[in-house]
Amino acid sequence: MKKIIVYLNQFFGQIGGEDKADFKPEIQEGLVGPSMEFDRQIKNGTVTHTIICGDNYMGSNEEQAVEEILGFLEGKEFDLFIAGPAFQAGRYGNACGVISLAVKKKFNVPVISSMHIENPGVEMFKKEMIIFPGGKSAAAMRKDIKKIAKYADKILTGEKLGTAEEEGYYTRSIRHQVWREDKVCAADRMVDMLLKKINGEPFETELPIPKMDRVPVATPVADLSKAKIAMLTTGGIVPIENPDRIQSASATRWGKYDISGMERLEGGVFKTIHAGYDPAAADANPNVCMPIDAMRAYEKEGKIGELYKYFYSTVGTGTTQGEAARMGKEIVAELIEAGVDAVIMTST
């Protein structure tokens, strides 16, 4: 029987929630959480081990985490490495991608993951590994595992593998040379496409150009000592009563909060409502996320002209890129109106 090792975060590895996100990597023999479902659904392999690592530990100590995990795997026999599914969890997606690529490089075994299309891990890693489109949350667990399992069985039995479109994973932008079954040569296909285009008919390009959503670099601030600087965060810092009822995850709302006369953000006056990280540190001292105290110091020194009297806040976890772009545009319109010259945005 072929052997499979599965990677999970602290939550799916049943260690705990956000308060355990610093959990150091661990390897367990046998099945934990989603490993059970992988073991059940994959017919031609068995899950021998489950690796569990906290998302924050991987995010903040990547080199160390990878080294420890590769150490666990040293000397173990395995034919396939599966990480996730990571759904729409950005840090989990990052962790799945980082560890999968490291495992692939060191042990040369196939690696697979699954992520929702809005998970930043998709853009980051899909070129270098196989990632199946997944659901937004763990409600899609069984369905997401099924997709991976089907493909895993093909790999483990050495069955012929199709293209990304045929198999259903995110395209890796790899071009293969193939003999087409219809034997229509490229020139004929191209002229056909051109004719369709001229006639305004739909056609399917054979070379899609990936769409890059890039923002031009802003003009540098010429004189910082005269500039009005605004502070923004996706870390969910708000007055403790959360007056704008910004959601703790998948936010669609943002707020602006007056900091006139404040030297720093006091715990007990401000807190974080972000559900994607342990709030203890930011609740105790909100400046670790929204550094108003340091900005005031620079204002006093004259390094900057002025700290804008509002800071802006929303929650980044699970927030779609579409909503984020809309909120960004709304905030920028206000900032321009207020004559703000530049912004610093902190993220968690």
């Binding site: 996100a21 998302d55 924050n56 995010g59 903040s60 950005g90 840090r91 990052n94 930043p120 853009e123 980051m124 959503d213 890039r214 923002v215 670099v217 802003a218 540098p220 601030v221 010429a222 910082l224 500039a227 600087i229 870390g235 994607g276 990280y277 342990d278 709030p279 203890a280 540190a281 930011a282 105790a284 001292n285 400046n287 670790v288 996320c289 550094p291 105290d293 340091a294 900005m295 110091a297 620079y298 390094k303 900057i304 890129q321 530049a342 610093i344 945005m345 902190t346 993220s347 968690t348």
Partner: protein, 65 residues
């Protein structure tokens, strides 16, 4: 200012200053108040200087503390 620099790059940020963690980007509560302040003051300063930098592509700025 971001802890997950690769995510910041993917999201399209042009000027990136690394922070130290997700729950406390700018001050580890396990260190002294002074150490937290030094780190925060330094990295916010790097971010301010970054605003004046004329870069042509995505740039991750170096921090000392």
């Amino acid at each position: 200012m971001a802890n997950l620099v690769p995510v910041a790059k993917t999201a399209g940020a042009n000027k990136i200053v690394p922070t130290i963690s997700i729950p406390y980007p700018l001050g580890d509560p396990a260190t002294t108040e002074k150490e937290q302040w030094d780190l925060r003051y330094h990295r916010v300063g790097v971010a301010l200087d970054a605003l004046t930098a004329d870069v042509k592509e995505q740039t991750v700025f170096k921090v000392r503390i």
